[in-house]
């Protein structure tokens, strides 16, 4: 029973080959929980991560991940998690912000200065990735950005600079065996003219995870629906696999439930559902839940 809970549907949908994952969300259905899950997973198997935080302070993530059973402070001390706090509250700029973005603070929004900041940020990430690779724990490395919309704000709205930076991060994924997870608020880019960043991200992505409110309206025990589109590359082995997934989610205090529409999440029916699922799996006829 436990093996089906805790976001297994999500990981099944995501597979393992995706290098660039773009998480799209909107105000009605924030997708931060996907990021938390992926961060936990990235750190779980001996892997390491670099987290570019623009939306929340470290303590926020620490608190949430602790409830999910993952001690971020510990990982940070062990240099498995490299936390780049890039927020800039007036008068309370973080260490990394001061280190990486001094030009922006000093000279306003000059294009060259912004580009320099991104070069610095990138080389810092590359240094971290290289250091992790040469160390003993040469596991999977994950770069996470929470979120790109705020990175664009930090770059004073210069989309080109943000894209240059992101493309450089993408090159790391193919050279250094790491993956990139990007959160973007889709509804900001709803207007045709400023679709640029979102469209570029969709082009870059191998896998798009999209959180949206329930299309049929509000429900007490469903918080929204998640669709996973596996765009897949040709190098990927499982080319025959299902490419598009859609299911519902419910964010709970210390985990998230993913389930197919129509199966409610009350304990009893959940049990029933999984018994049925098992029965289907063992029966000779094709399972209706596996669309292949």
């Amino acid at each position: 029973m436990e093996e089906y809970g805790g976001g297994d549907l999500l990981s099944e949908a995501m597979g393992s080959a995706a290098r660039v994952v773009v998480v799209e969300d909107c105000v009605e259905a924030p997708g931060a929980f996907v990021l938390h899950l992926l961060l936990k997973r990235a750190l779980a198997g001996g892997g390491a991560a670099a987290f570019l935080a623009l939306a929340q302070p470290f303590t926020h993530y620490d608190r949430i991940l602790r409830k999910m059973g993952c001690n971020l402070s510990l990982h940070r001390r062990n240099e498995r998690l490299h936390f780049f706090e890039l927020q800039a509250f007036p008068g309370k700029q973080s260490f990394y912000y001061l280190m990486l973005f001094p030009d922006i603070i000093g000279s306003g929004a000059k294009d060259g200065a912004i580009a320099d900041c991104f070069v610095r940020l990138y080389s810092e990430i590359q240094r971290v990735v290289e250091a992790t690779r040469t160390g003993e724990n040469a596991g999977q490395f994950t770069i996470m950005i929470d979120d790109v919309s705020l990175l664009e704000v930090a770059a004073h709205g210069s989309v080109d600079n943000v894209l240059d930076f992101l493309y450089y991060c993408v090159t790391l994924t193919s050279e250094m065996n790491c993956s990139l997870v990007i959160l973007i608020h889709e509804d900001i880019y709803a207007v045709e003219e400023n679709m640029g960043l979102l469209l570029h991200l969709r082009h870059i992505a191998d896998l798009v995870v999209k959180a949206a409110p329930l299309s049929t309206g509000l429900a007490a025990d469903v918080h929204g629906q998640l669709s996973v589109v596996n765009k897949g590359t040709f190098s990927e082995q499982r080319a025959k696999a299902q490419k598009v997934w859609s299911f519902h989610f419910k964010v709970k205090e210390n985990s998230t439930d993913f389930f197919y529409p129509g199966s409610t999440m009350s304990k009893v029916s959940l049990n029933l559902f999984f018994t049925n699922l098992l029965a289907f799996k063992h029966s000779p006829q094709p399972s209706p839940l596996n669309f292949t």
């Binding site: 090159t171 469209l199 490419k243």
Partner: protein
């Protein structure tokens, strides 16, 4: 027809003409398939060049979107060995370090750390570190193209993947300048490029289509009119990620444009084209294919012509009268000045119990059964 497209690229330029150019367009809905089509054309042309069947001695790939390894890997899977790859393929790597950031970083920590991870030691990959300089890029491309072995006049082909990434760094005029300069370069046998049409304003892909002799659009096999990029109908999306339409427009030298399309799908790690469904779209008549017959037979046509329409009472022995707009009454029998007398005369003639509508045609131009307002006053 991908084969025909590759054939045109293979045959290369004719004397006194610019090199043939192919613009490959894809949108987000089937983006990976467009990329697959690009890889297919690249690999097909490279193997033609390696076999010595093409006009070009080799192929220069300008790689923006994918790592050079992806191309080499794909060509290897298509049966090109390392020797052929080294001989016939050069890759200008604009993916790894397009702005020189990595070099800058390397210079910073120059010290003992000489792990040359980024300067690939492969002889057929050249890293370009400043893509903003379009002139330098052109110089690099022609330099790489001139490096193929062989005697006599040497031609080479160019693949640019993709223009969309190049356009982030350079303006539309400078990129089109680059392409048309390359097309007119005397050593270039053919050139083709990929463009993601939805990343730009509609006029940008158009501008590049004008530079090309062939346009191949990769379009989704199924179009869902309700939701284009929303996860509403999963089956549609699922279909579109595994199959697409490959629509080709070929511009002949005399200006004629040919259209055709075939299916494009992914099988395993490879891209396949299904030419069984090649449509002869242009040749077939415009009448849609239906179960029942929409055409008339000869007999039906004559029967139809013989039907006397209810208001078509004239012309059977009586003189045909045409209303000329000034006289409201039949002329010939009476002078219009004697109108009151005429009324008297008509009245007994048509004064039988049944009513009749007399209709006078406006002119001979008017078809008897036309839908037009017969006397211009109904305001239909």
């Amino acid at each position: 027809m991908a084969e025909a497209v590759v054939r045109y690229l293979r045959d290369g330029r004719l004397d006194g003409e610019h090199a043939p150019a192919l613009a490959l367009e894809g949108s987000l809905q089937c983006c990976s398939l467009a990329a697959g089509a690009m890889l297919h054309v690249t690999a097909a042309l490279a193997s033609q060049a390696a076999a010595g069947k093409a006009q070009a001695r080799g192929l220069v790939v300008v790689a923006f979107d994918r790592s050079p390894e992806v191309y080499l890997e794909f060509m290897r899977r298509r049966g090109l060995d390392a020797n052929a790859l080294n001989r016939c393929v050069r890759i200008l790597d604009c993916y790894t370090d397009p702005l020189g950031w990595k070099q800058k970083f390397q210079n910073q920590q120059h010290q003992e750390n000489s792990t040359k991870q980024f300067s690939t030691n492969k002889e057929n990959i050249t890293v370009l570190r400043n893509v903003k300089d379009v002139n330098k890029m052109m110089y690099s491309i022609t330099e790489l193209g001139g490096g193929f072995e062989g005697e006599g006049k040497m031609y080479f082909s160019i693949a640019v993947d993709s223009i969309s990434s190049l356009l982030r760094h350079a303006s539309v005029p400078s990129v089109s300048g680059l392409l048309s300069n390359l097309r007119s370069h005397e050593q270039v046998s053919s050139i083709f490029w990929l463009i993601h049409s939805d990343l730009h304003e509609p006029k940008v892909p158009r501008a590049f289509e004008c530079l090309s002799t062939m346009v191949a659009c990769v379009e989704p096999a199924l179009v869902d009119p309700v939701c284009v990029e929303s996860p509403g109908s999963m089956s549609t999306l699922e279909q579109n990620y595994s199959k697409a339409k490959f629509i080709v427009r070929l511009k002949r030298r005399n200006g004629r444009v040919k259209h055709f399309y075939e299916d494009l799908y992914v099988e395993g790690n490879d891209v396949k084209f299904d030419s069984a469904h090649v449509s002869t779209e242009v040749n077939q008549s415009l009448v849609p294919k239906v179960q029942f017959n929409l055409e008339l037979s000869e007999k039906e046509r004559t029967d139809r012509a013989n039907v006397v329409l209810p208001f078509e009472h004239q012309g059977k022995g009586e003189p045909i009268q045409i209303y000329d707009g000034r006289r409201s009454l039949p002329e010939g029998q009476r002078d219009p000045n004697l109108a009151p007398a005429l009324v008297d005369e008509i009245a007994p003639k048509s004064g039988t119990a049944k009513g009749e509508i007399h209709y006078v045609r406006d002119s001979d131009d008017e078809q008897p059964d036309s839908d037009e307002d017969p006397d211009d006053d109904l305001d239909i």
